[in-house]
Amino acid sequence: MNELLMHKEQVNEQLARYGVKFGIYKNGVFHERLFPFDPIPRQIGRDDFSLLEKGLRQRVMALNRFLSDIYGKKEILRDGIVPEEFVYRSPGYLAECEGIQPPESIYSHISGIDLVLGKDGVWYILEDNLRIPSGASYPLIARALCRNCSPNTFRRNTVQDNRNYGAMLKEVMDHVNRGGINVIFTPGRYNAAYFEHSYLAEQSGAILAESADLFVDQQVLYYRTSQDPVRIGAIYRRVSDEYLDPLCFEPSSLIGIPNLMDAYRAGNVAILNSPGNGVADDKGIYYFVPKMISYYLGEKPILHNAPTYLPYFREDMEYTLSHLGELVIKDVAEAGGYGVVFGCDLSEEELGNLKETIQKEPRRFISQSVIDFQELPILEDDGQQVMRKADLRAFVLSGKDTVVWPSGLTRFSRNPDSFVVNSSQGGGFKDTWITVSQ
């Protein structure tokens, strides 16, 4: 491992060479930055990972069933497992998707599940991302570059290869493809995750396209070329639901494809991930995922949620208000590390204001016990190692089978006092190794 650390500078040079960047808008201006990489990988033993794999597959299978149910028969609502209000008032619920059966009944093809490892050695799920989870490209390219910079490290450590992500993605796209080419649909060059869009297109052999390159005719989606249009069978969209089709959702969207939803509804194209998935990764719905697992699969949840309270329920409201200073409060409508408040960071006055807001809008918030999660070592520029909070985004791909990518994006906070690891908040990333004992 020390050898890899000695090559930190070379790895960073390589990352710069390949333009491994992410974008961020500050005051309306687009800035592109190299994504800070730490060469010390998170290591997960094969046995631990097997358990994680089982739990993640179970969770994603239940979430896919939930989505199929919500936009179909709604049995989980009828049976009172999930209150209707949590579904119909969720900003992620799209009435326009009612009754649509996606190809192969898969809704969440690429799921990004955020976990942390507690100091008690237990993995806790923090969040499900079923819309357009990003981040797989970073450990994917970092692994290739680290192997190049420090081959001995990989001779001496048996690490499960993660460089098959592009092939896995292609398999998923091919499985749901309705006839035609695979396309990755990007909002464009100035999107925060543009590097990822272009790199995954290269790795999966899909065509990277923007809205101007795509059109729908007679309920069929086409790629517009200088010659004949080419039919598209699967579109891995990296555009949010609301901007996807201006004739169905936000009419002012300039980055969408008019009538895409018509082609989708007619079953002529697979959209990865399906529109409307936001209803299942809503922070409020998160509370009910263990119940979904029991309901749909008849199994006990393998992975744990962080202890969560819904102020919507009277008991939980009372608990939240009386323990506000110890809890983390999350606005269910926010993402990317925004809308997260730690009670312990607030003044008395701020706590009072927050209490008032929660009482006024109980559905808008969840509260969670602060999990004391394990820190990981980070190599500083001066060569010292320091400990920082880190999470793991695991990627679960659902195609013919539901499989977990044997790696993941480990994000860490660069601020010693912060739990927030998002890149948009200044965090960095590590590779995630699944190690096999020799």
Binding site: R17, R189, S198, Y199, G205, L208, R224, T225, S226, D228
Partner: protein, 231 residues
């Protein structure tokens, strides 16, 4: 196997070729000026700007060399051309490949390094080396003939334009026009072309082949060259 490409991508390929050639050709041209300036000899930077039809806000030769080459905020600078080159390349990653793209990224870094170096000439050499590596990588590693030739068409259009502006000898111009016509003949991508402009270039090439000079003004020749592709 060649597949169709969107007009947007074809346009990016063309402009990638143009900007890459601009960075390479103008830098090579100005490397000589650096040497000239060491002996305190004058350089005609105003004439240079006139020939390229760009504004000349530069106050003296040193100011010109600094700002025309390195200034990121100057839209006419070589550094800006390098940024546009990279911008066009970035949206073509899956078409040209990450390895080929990486030479463009490195060329931009090399320009920035040269700007703070005491011997920028060496930095320019590095940029030009990387531009050659990019060209070689396009030749060897891009299987799609249409993609390759579109980049080359862009590159030759730019070179012809610059050669005409800089008053390069006819022989060099003949070779460049020769190549451009060859690439247009083998362009598998369907692109809208100005046939009048193509005819002018073909006739001039024929005359140059016969050892005769260009029969129209360099301005008209440049116009024909730059309006050949309707992108």
């Amino acid at each position: 196997m060649d597949y169709g490409l969107s007009i947007t991508k074809i346009s990016h390929l063309f402009w990638l070729g143009r900007y890459a050639a601009r960075v390479d050709a103008t830098l090579r041209y100005l490397i000589g000026w650096y040497d000239t300036m060491l002996d305190g000899k004058p350089i005609d930077y105003q004439g240079f700007c006139r020939s390229l039809d760009i504004p000349c806000p530069y106050t003296n030769p040193h100011n010109f060399m600094r700002r025309y080459i390195f200034d990121k905020k100057n839209p006419d600078s070589i550094r800006s051309a390098a940024e546009f080159m990279l911008g066009n390349g970035m949206v073509l990653r899956e078409n040209i490949g990450s390895n080929t793209l990486s030479y463009l990224q490195m060329a931009v870094y090399a320009m920035d390094n040269a700007s703070v170096s005491v011997n920028p000439g060496l930095g320019f050499q590095r940029v030009c080396d990387l531009m050659m590596a990019f060209t070689g990588s396009c030749d060897v590693y891009i299987d799609h003939l249409g993609i390759r030739n579109m980049i080359k068409c862009g590159s030759m259009v730019e070179r012809i334009s610059l050669y005409l502006s800089f008053g390069y000898p006819d022989e060099q111009l003949r070779k460049a026009v020769d190549e451009l016509i060859l690439y247009t003949d083998h362009l598998s991508l369907l692109v809208s072309m100005d046939l009048n402009a193509l005819s002018i270039l073909q006739i001039q090439k024929h005359l140059l082949d016969q050892g005769r000079g260009i029969t129209i003004s360099r301005y008209d020749m440049k116009h024909a060259d730059e309006s050949l592709f309707q992108l």
